[in-house]
Structure formats: structure tokens, C-alpha cells
Amino acid sequence: MSTLPLAVTRRRRRSVRHTLDVRVSPYAYVAPFFLLFCAFGLFPLVYTAWVSLHEWTLLSETQEFVGAANYSTLLADDYFWNATFNTLSIGVLSTVPQLALAIWLAHLLNRRLRFQTLFRVALLLPNVTSVVAVVVIFSQLFGRDFGMINWILSWFGAGTIDWAAGTASSHIALSVMIMWRWTGYNALIFLAAMQAVPRELYEAATLDGAGNFTQLRKITMPMIRPTIIFVVIVSTIGAMQIIAEPMLFGQSSGGGGGIATGGPDRQFQTLALFVYEQGFANSTFDFGYASAASWLMFVAVVVVAGINFLITRKVKGGLV
């Protein structure tokens, strides 16, 4: 009779283990992500907020608590607003044509073609090229004295354009570099979504006499709306964080200026570059100020991404 209690305990133990397994192990499976996120995402976010409330430089031994002083200085800093304007301007100039172009390219590829895979791989090539190589080469193309673009423009009687010097011209040059890298990538995402659209809809539309463009506008776009929203949000976040392009463009265009000022007039200094200038390029290494700027940048990214989300959601969904 002594075996019965043992069997019961064993069974109970097993059921405890089972519940534990069912209840706890899913958390264990996702834990690595959250642990990494806490270490490399959440902690820096919170710590940056903490640093931003201090007079904190890399070299000083003591850090004085200054409350919101960094933020109030920042809001009165013309260079911060200049960087905000540049970021938005480059963001719009690069993202809008880029997404339109990506949808169009995806639409072209969304049919039976010879060498389909070749085209699709080609789309992704600019994206896997190093950003340094892209900017160095484009800086040469946009060169003032010996650049290819000015040379071609001169056929049409255009004068020499000093691309890096002007505000608008430098924003255009940078937008082209960004579009070069990201259009193909976004086109592939759109293409994947388009392939899930049922063929019958197009067949029916063709029978009804709808043209290619009408089909794109009335069938494809509404059907891939969730993907469009996703791509718009991701591109917006990416565009708000542009740093490598303006920094390298400043150094390789010959227009002068500090390493992180984005031209002598700060004509193409973006927010991320401004943060880098304050925190790492100045010999003050003003971490407090740079952290405050990072936080405002974070807020700006959330706001702009939110606005874009609302706008794209308003775009009519489903088939009408």
C-alpha cells in the first residue's frame, strides 16, 4: 500500500511540471529577445533620459543635475531647429518619390517576365552596397568641377551647380543617395504583398476594360494597404535618423565645414548628425546636451510616424 502515495506524488509532480512547462516556458522562449531589448534598447533609452537632465561631459569627473536646462537651451538653439528642418526636408524629398517609384517598380515586376530572379536580385543590390561606397561615389557624381551630373547638365546649357553648397541642391543630392539605396528594397516588399493579391481580380478588371494604371490604383493599392502602411512607417523612421549620408557627403564634397556640421552653413546637417556633433565631434563631448537632443529626436520620430500612420490609414482600404 505504500506505493500509492508515491504514485500520486509522482503524478502530481508531473502535473506541476506540466503546468510549469505550459505556463512558463513560452516566456523563457521569448526572454532572450526581451533581455537583449532591455540591455540594448530600453536601458539606453532610460539612461539617455537620465543623462539629459545633467551637465554631463565625457571628460568631467562630476555630473551636475540641471533639470530641464538642456531642453530649454535646445529649444532656443537655432542649429537644432535648422537640423529639424533639414531632416524633414530630406525625409520628404527622399521618401515620397522613393515609395512611388517602389510601387511602380513592383507593379512592373509583378507579371511573368524572363529573368525574373535576376531583376529581383538586381533591385536589392544597391541596398547591400556599403553606405560609405555609395556616398563617396555619389559625391563624385555630384562634384562641382569634375562631376558627371554637372557635365551632363552642361549639355542642356545649365551652369555649374555647386551641389553641396546650396540648401535645396544638397538636399536633392542626399535624397538621391537615399533613394538609390532603399527604393529596390521597398519594391521587393511591395512585390511580395502584390503576389498575394488574387489574379481573378485583375482578370475581371481586364474584362471590364480597366487599364494598367487603373488596375494599379483601384486594385493593387487598396489590396496591399497594410504593407504600404508598414513601409511608410519604417521609411519615415529611417529618414528621420539619416546620419551617414550627410556626414560623409560633408567630408567628401570639398565644401568645407566641420566633420559633423553638414556644410559650413549647416545646410544639410540632420538631427542625428547634430546629436553626433554635440556628443562626439566637439572636443567638449557634451553628452547631456546630445542626450536631450536625442530625446527630442525620439519624440519627433514618434510624432511624424504617428501622423503618417493616420494619413495612410485614411487612404481607402478594400475594394470599392
Binding site: T57, L58, L59, V136, S139, Q140, G143, R144, D145, F146, D162, A165, Q251, S252, S253, G254, G255, G256, G257, G258, I259, T261, G263, P264, D265, R266, Q267, F280, A281, N282, S283, T284, F285, D286
Partner: protein, 432 residues
Amino acid sequence: MTPRIRRLGLPLLTASVLALATACGGGGGGNTATEASAKPGEKIKLTVGLFGDFGFKPLYEEYKKTHPNIEIVENVTQFNDHHSNLVKRLATNAGAGDIEAVEVGYISTFTAQPGRFVDLKHYGLDKRQADYLDWKWQQGLSKDGAQVLGLGTDVGGLAMCYRKDLFKKAGLPEERDKVAALWPTWEEYIATGKKFAGANVAGAKFVDSPGEIFRAMVNQAPVGLYDAQDNIIVESNPDVKKAWDLSNQLTQEGLTAKLAAFSPPWNTGFAKGSFATIICPAWMTGFIQEQAKDASGKWDIATVPGGSGNSGGSHLMVPKQSKHPKEAAELIDFLTSKDNQAKVFKEEGTFPSIPALYDDPSIQNFTKPFFGDAPIGKIYSEAAKALKPQHLGPKEADVRVAIGNGLGRVEQGKQTPDEAWAQVLEDVKKIK
């Protein structure tokens, strides 16, 4: 725990505690753990952090012959990155080399932190004081003068390099004494520039950009961007304003090729002959030779307008985090020795900071075919002998960026010189 494990465990435990202590000791400036030096015969790797080719490579080979246990690794990064990386590596107490080069524009930033560098006096390098130009020696000391933190490599005595072929096309004299006679002052230099521009030489401007000219002019003044008490005096120093006005005059007369120094289009400009003159501290000669490979014999060197001055030059320092400070100090002693500075000059053009060399016949009679056999040894010796030292402040580099941006805004036609100057003064005030 069996006795055997205990026997093994104790040393292991001690070792790991020690390792921890060493790791944690870093934050406080960590000076005790690094004192330990290598035993004789042990292989030692020394890393040398530079911001360009210092011409040290043949010297390393020579050094290895007498020091077979030393391995030397050179890390070269770009000028700005090198110095800002060094600040970060000192602050985080990790990643700095055993020897780090520091350019004169940054030297005060680093000597202001004596706790982060090895006092080279501990390794007997104060004996080298007698070798050096006094002001060059002083620049490597801590603020209170008590510690020797860096030993000088080169000084950047000024001269003016010019393209003989372009001068000829413009109807200007080609011979270096006659060219020098064209411009005893900067005003006359600008006047020569106007003549050059008047001749309309296709594809060539008189000067690359005003930035380095400005730096040279300020360096010629008795007092520069900082006063002796480390206050920024950009606004009140008339010499700075004068340099600013003259630099902008170059721009406004249309004499500059608008090519910022050290950018890729500037390099192209050398190859294409886009500018006829360039301010030439000694180290620039090596640079021209590298960039304008096809232009051998076309460049020549004349004296600089406005008297002598120093532009550039470096020191070698040993960060405290180095594990082999003794060996690093010995290597610095070797790299900066009289003979080796002379060797480096002949190869790279960087001019020695040891005055005993200036009258040495091997330097005095040294010429370079690339510069039309110009007596560059004699030219730079004279320039270096006449040098008046200038006090440099801790944020020298930031102030120069602010002013350089101002010159750039005028050059790009964004602002008038007065508007740009007002913004420069605002920017300079913000430098903490």
C-alpha cells in the same frame, strides 16, 4: 571540496579576484596595475596610433633589429577621427594605443589631463629637454610644468608652395627668390593673386581655399586664438580679425578654387593643377608629392608672406592604460631622436623640432627634385629658427572649426563677411 580541488581553487580564485580588481581599478585612472613591466625576453606588442603617414615604418624595422622582442603595430586613422577617438578611449580607459600621436591643435586638450598619460620623466626622458626647441618642449608638458607628457616629432615652419608652370602662363616670375620678392606681406600676396587672376589661366585659381591661409596668418601673430590664461580672444584680438579680413578678401576677389583642404576634390585639384599656390608647412611637402605625382618639377617653394609662423606639428604621448609604458617610452625616445627626425624629414618632409639639426650640413644642403631641387632643408631651417612660439588653448580645434565654417559661408556666397563674423563670434561664445 577535496584537498586537490582546494589547492587548484585557491590560486584560481585569487587570480580572478585580481583580474576583477584590475578591471575595476580602471575607473579611477588606474595607475597601479599598469606599472608592472615585462620580463626580459618576453614578446611585447606595442601599438602606435597615428593620423597619417609619419614616415616611421623604416624606423620600426631598424628598432626591431636591436629589440628583437618588440613587435610594433601602427594604426592610422583620419585626422579628426584619430583625435576624437583618443578622447573617447581615454575617458573609457580602454582601447588607446601604447603610443598616440597628438597634433599641436589638440595638444593642450590632452596635456590638461595629466592623470591620463604617463609622465615620461619616470623613464628618464626629461634628459631630452636640451635637444628640443624650447617652446616645442613646453607644449608637451602638463599645465603646471611638472610632468613630461609628450615628446615632439616635427614642427610646421611655414613656406609658400607654388606652381612654376602656372606662374609662367600668368606672366609672373618663376624663380623662387623673385617669387618671394613678390609677397613680403599678405596684402602683396593678394595683389599678386589679382595679377594671376587677370591673366585668366584656364582651369586654375590662385589659391586652394582661404582656410589654411587663415590658420597660417593667425599663427604668425604673437598671440593667436587664446591668451596666456586660456581665454578665447577671437573677438578682441585685432590680429585674428585682420587674418579674417584678408582671407575673405581672397574669396571676394575670386582668387580661391573653393576646395576645402584634405577633401577628395582638393586631392583631385592637385592632380589637375586647379590652384597655383598653397600654404606649405613643412609636412605639406610630403602631401603634395603624394597627391600630385605627375607634377614633379612643376612645384617650387618660396618664403611665406608675413614672416615666420608655425602650423601643425605633433607630439607622441603614452596613455596611462598602456601595459608597457617603459617600452613605449623607449620607442618614443628612439622615434624622436635627432638622427631619426633627420631621416624622417628627408623621406616625408616633416621638419625636425631639434635645433641642433638646423645648421647640420646634411639638412642645410638637402634638396628635393620634386620641387625643382628647391633647397627645402635651408628654407625650413630658416623658417623654424625664426619661429615665435604661440600659446595654444584647450579648445583650439573647436574654435578653428567655427571660424572655418564662417570662411566657408562667405566662400559659398551664403553670407557677407560681416554676417559670417557675427555668427562666428556667437558660435565661439558657445564653446564651453
